[in-house]
Symmetry: D2
Subunit: 242 residues, 4 copies
């Protein structure tokens, strides 16, 4: 497997490169100019003898560019691309439309957080209990009220975090019940507080180092490469485990 990396110069991109080197995986950094037209992309593709997964952790415009390239590649070249993993969020309607058409050509997997623990957290909230209710529904039926706190470093600009929003959706927690704390160098803590009379439950995820997001992204690429799914939108649920 060869990784084509869009967004290599970003914070996550730098960590992905470091990790790919450590794992001795071959990869190519795909710059904006490589995506300008088919010839530029073909020039880059020439140097890659293996089949590849493209990992896009840039910005929505990066997603747009790679989709435009893929939609216009010749069949024989398209065969070399085994999947597109997108860790970018905030695509506009045109870009979403473009993703839809591209998904008919290659498998696409969209993931807002590459941490396995956050994925597990989301699965917990939506998991089915013995009576058919989800965990979240059972908690409410038993009289538990729910709220969330999320803590990140002081340089984080958005609040609440994207992960908090995803988890709140899974747990049916209203937006006003999410509290954001910005302090020091915290990589990422997300806690759901469940409270009933005289008892409480807390489910808490702690990201200890940013590199786990890089490792998660690479493992997802590997799993998709190995399982070689057909074109279409992939459920991330099917590829988080090898």
């Amino acid at each position: 497997m060869h990784i084509g990396l869009i967004g290599a110069s970003g914070r996550l991109g730098t960590l992905v490169c470091e990790n790919l080197v450590q794992q001795k995986l071959t990869f190519t950094k795909i710059a904006r100019e490589d995506l300008q037209n088919i010839p530029s992309f073909m020039q880059l593709l020439q140097h890659v003898s293996e089949s590849m997964i493209i990992l896009d952790i840039s910005l929505p415009v990066g997603t747009e560019n790679i989709c435009n390239i893929i939609n216009n590649l010749e069949e024989k070249n398209l065969k070399q691309i085994k999947g597109l993993v997108i860790g970018t969020t905030g695509h506009n309607d045109r870009q979403k439309q473009l993703l839809l058409s591209t998904s008919q050509k290659i498998p696409i997997c969209m993931v807002s957080n590459f941490s396995k623990g956050v994925y597990l957290f989301e699965e917990i909230l939506k998991a089915k209990t013995s009576q058919g209710l989800t965990v979240t529904e059972l908690a409410r039926a038993l009289g538990f009220d729910m709220a969330m706190t999320e803590i990140h470093h002081t340089l984080k600009k958005d609040a609440p975090s994207g992960t908090a929003i995803t988890l709140a959706e899974a747990g049916k927690i209203p937006a006003k019940q999410i509290s954001s704390v910005r302090v020091g160098k915290v990589v990422g803590d997300h806690s759901i507080h469940l409270s009933a009379d005289s008892e409480s439950l807390e489910i808490k995820h702690t990201a200890h180092a940013r590199k786990l997001f890089a490792e998660g992204a690479i493992e997802l690429c590997k799993n998709i490469y190995t399982q070689a799914p057909k074109p279409g939108f992939l459920r991330k649920e099917d590829f988080f485990i090898s």
Copy 2:
């Protein structure tokens, strides 16, 4: 509904009585001598005009005595007893056999912890995620290792707690991975620690006051009374929610 309470003088029993008074529910304390033979029990039953749920929070021998009584009651008297809720553990084989025969006469519900939060905790660990794995199985498949800590007051004699053992079974956590702490006046904390590379998840239940166990026991009795199930062993899952 009338509650027949076996074990009224114990720590939990005292709280149950207080709570029954607060809720203005009628109840009868059933002492050991009331269970000695049918006539003694009938004498006690005479004063109860309503149909009743029997709540046994005594010791295994209490369970044995009430089962012997029930098995020998005349049909018309048996009708008055709508269910038997047992919060006692540690029954021997003969007592289990007795429970089996009694369950053919009245509905029996056996519960090791009357807290709704502990019940939710257990359900979480066994809930089915989107791919068909349980939460516990998914955690392991994603590379998370699991351990438990439980903290109780210094007067608690057994370690690990019965609840810890139940949760460890639900989470397939080996006994040697349960750590018990005995400190101060802690009512009951149970935490499951999930650890993978650079991230961790913790699920923690805190019992803030012992009265929640009394309230949970009474609510379970009410739910069984209302739903009026047929004789047999009841799944506690079906009666924790009203």
Copy 3:
């Protein structure tokens, strides 16, 4: 010791009464009408043969009324009152002036939170480390940034809590770094998060049951009664420990 209780009908007042009964301590509920003038108060005082501590957990106006009474009591009647403990906050300037003059007649102790753990928490933040810095100053000098989260039940109206404000002052945490969560039935959680590069410290207080505030108030009254200090404003630090 006899307790004169102002504010007996409030939430905390009810618990104080329950606890006084449990501890077999004698007490008198002092109503608003008892404080209208000296004769009404004297009528009430007649029935109390012991010397007493007055515990005011009403509203600022209650504090005002008792101060007016005390300031106008005859010397021989004043002797019966060994101290005034005030758990009310939000006094206006006139009321503060009144407290000052009253403190020349009897010992007064003002406490915003009757929990021993919150008192310990505050002491921790202000304690002197080996080099002469306070804990808070040392934390900052070592590069730790600080923030606070406080969690209370959904019926609590003020945010942040008075306790959070007191702790934030002790820890020199700016008001905007306090996050308030209102969920379920939480009695009161206060956490200070200290974050530096790749490590964090958390100091967390949990109030498990409201009765601890009642117990703390009564114990403070007892300690003042036993130590019999001179008139003046007492430091709560001197009376939290018996």
Copy 4:
């Protein structure tokens, strides 16, 4: 400042080297053979033109070797060594004796944990509160009982951890009140639980990444270098802050 590093090939040593390179600090790895005799050490010293701090994170025998060298260096060569920082524990009596004689020649600082947060934690437990009691003594006087849990990865062999032992001493927590959990990849969690009736306090330190120990060690060397203390045993308290 130049760092002379003993124990460069160990787990912590590797991280120290990485960090020294990142900080563009010059350093020399001192191997066992460099410490065999004065000529070997002088050969190594020749290549170092700056004055240096020696950081020993090897084993007790490494400490022994460097002490023997220092005790036998000529005065003019000794001047080049500004201090010895030792992160090794478990020295025997002979080695302790040797350290004592060496401390008459150069400043020596012995530290069992290079994390600033653990240092802060220890200082908290021993800090003086307003009445003259330490935090630990005040907690006990207020009725709080104390216990500790420490969690580390499954490859850690010793239990309880050295840090747990240090903190337990500072908090006067008996050894049997320390619970050790070994799970997954946890870098290092240490929690002290304080419990009293209906309330609890928890003080918890989390090490998120092993590199913080490397950074702490280097910063300590820098602070000693800058402050240039006289020979003798240094209090780590005086050099954790720049």
